[in-house]
């Protein structure tokens, strides 16, 4: 498989939804992969059970960065309960939307782990 396909590299080079959110309606968590030195923090703004805005920040490799960027786009506008009911596998498949080899799964999973932690 071509890990570094065009859309993945585009999300790495131009990450979407980077930043922070503040406020009572914001829930946030961070998670790190100690073995890589990667760290990702996600902020979800919730209004009437809908994730109305997502921001994230962190340091990481191309895979972690692109996965965080793509996942943040996917989450925006989604029903919170629906996201809560998703398994990690479903989040990767539908939310992150690209595959990596087993050795890089930890990188891909980092944003998923953070969001699971938030929920």
């Amino acid at each position: 498989m071509d890990l570094y396909r065009e859309d993945v590299m585009d999300h790495y080079e131009h990450p979407r939804n980077q930043g922070e959110l503040l406020g009572d309606d914001v829930i946030a968590e961070k998670e790190s992969n100690a073995s890589c030195g990667d760290m990702v923090q996600f902020y979800l703004k919730i209004k009437d059970g809908i994730i109305v805005e997502v921001k994230w920040k962190g340091i990481g490799c191309a895979i972690t960065t692109a996965a965080s960027s793509k996942f943040s786009e996917y989450l925006t506008g989604k029903n919170l309960e629906k996201i809560k009911s998703m398994s990690e596998d479903e989040m990767v498949q539908d939310g992150v939307g690209f595959e990596v080899n087993p050795g890089r799964m930890k990188c891909l999973m980092l944003p998923v782990k953070v969001v699971k932690k938030i929920l």
Binding site: S35, G37, D38, I63, N101, R104
Partner: protein
């Protein structure tokens, strides 16, 4: 004339392909590959001699015991020690934990100091942290010079704290630095400390003589020096080992057992509880034979040559920052570098797609990477079968990183 390309033919795995490309194995610092003779030795042991050791009076049991003890003598000769000072363990990590727990719990108390260095593998830092927590002692860490050597001024300063034990590596797994272990041992002894040397990255490349170094403990693994995984060595001075309590207890290490107390076997059996890895010991003996046949001087000469070549060729690649000393005289086994602007794991994945296996991350030296302010690095590491062509292929594959990431 030593020819690594000929040596390479002895290693079956190096003939395989990865991702449709010939495998270029540059991760020997993590574990070395094994020559056919070592694989055969293990197989023949199980086919012809397998039985449990030091138990029962039957022929196979005697043969297995004989093989284990012959291996012990072989290892002793290899590092210039006595056979009764060789303790079989699983790996370097277990060897260091043995000393930390068996020696440390009895000999360290509140306020005592253990000295270690900033370049240690986690295996030579975490056990000391653990033991210091349990005994109330403290670990003092010696800093490094800018080019990745132990800062000897800081070392002398830390020795003034009168440590009970000093633990350092002979060769850094992340920087490749060869430490002046003989001098460091002498200084530590002068301050009254015992000395443990982590030899995991040294024994595969350098001629090691523990008597010459003068240390009290020396730990290494078989699997980094062409032997199978799961066999390692703790060498200790007999007079020191003799006074130590056992580490693991149970079968194989006892003299007499009563319901309320037991007595211990002599050293080294005292430290070898449970069924040992006899096949591993046989494999290790075969690996030593193989290395001796290649000639340890040739092995070191080749190591120096390949490190020198890697330093030169990688030095020409833009966006690379090489870690550790630039002089191959004080380096062994590996060259680590940072690829500016691209995460080490991304570099590793792209190199893997070209069949090139390297290590990425912090190589079990997280404090060192924090100290150098490097998030993660890439390490190319070598062994007797590594060729200049392997380095050329690495450099070529790094070109693909440039293509994908545009830097």
């Amino acid at each position: 004339m030593y020819d690594p390309a000929t040596v390479k033919k002895d290693f079956p795995i190096l003939k395989r392909e990865v991702n449709g490309k010939s495998l270029v194995y540059l991760d020997s610092g993590a574990t070395s590959q094994k020559p056919s003779v070592v694989l055969d030795a293990e197989r023949i042991y199980y086919e012809k001699h397998n039985a449990n050791v030091h138990r029962g009076a039957h022929t196979l049991g005697d043969e297995a015991t004989q093989l284990l003890e012959t291996s012990r003598e072989k290892v002793a000769g290899f590092i210039g020690s006595l056979a009764k000072e060789i303790v079989f363990v699983r790996n370097t990590t277990e060897a260091i934990n043995l000393v930390a727990f068996a020696w440390g719990l009895d000999n360290l108390k509140k306020g005592d100091v253990i000295v270690s260095t900033m370049m240690e593998h986690h295996a030579n830092l975490v056990p000391w942290q653990e033991i210091s927590k349990r005994t109330g002692s403290q670990v003092e860490v010696v800093g490094l010079t800018d080019d990745g050597r132990v800062d000897m001024d800081d070392y002398r300063k830390k020795l003034k704290l009168k440590p009970k034990l000093v633990a350092f590596t002979q060769v850094s797994n992340a920087l490749g630095t060869i430490n002046p272990v003989k001098e460091m041992t002498k200084l530590a002894h002068d301050s009254g400390a015992l000395v443990l040397v982590d030899g995991a990255q040294a024994v595969p490349h350098l001629k090691v003589d523990v008597t010459d170094i003068g240390c009290d403990f020396y730990a290494f693994s078989g699997h980094k020096m062409l032997a199978p995984m799961g066999i390692g060595i703790l060498w200790g001075k007999y007079s020191v080992l003799e006074k130590m309590s056992p580490f693991l207890t149970g079968g194989g290490m006892i003299n007499e057992v009563y319901l309320d107390h037991s007595t211990w076997s002599e050293v080294p059996e005292k430290f070898e509880a449970g069924t040992p890895n006899v096949a591993g010991a046989v494999g290790l003996m075969s690996a030593i034979d193989y290395l001796e046949k290649l000639g340890l001087d040739n092995v070191r000469e080749h190591d120096k040559e390949i490190v020198e070549y890697a330093l030169t060729q990688l030095g020409k690649v833009t966006n690379l920052v090489i870690l550790g000393p630039k002089n191959s005289e004080v380096r062994s086994g590996s060259v680590s570098f940072e690829y500016i602007g691209v995460h080490a794991h991304d570099v590793a994945t792209i190199l893997d797609s070209e069949g090139v296996a390297i290590r990425s991350g912090h190589h079990c030296t997280m404090p060192l990477h924090n100290y150098m302010k490097v998030v993660a690095s890439i390490r190319a590491s070598f062994n007797v079968y590594s060729t200049k062509e392997d380095i050329d292929k690495l450099v070529e594959a790094l070109g693909k990183v440039k293509k994908v990431f545009g830097k």
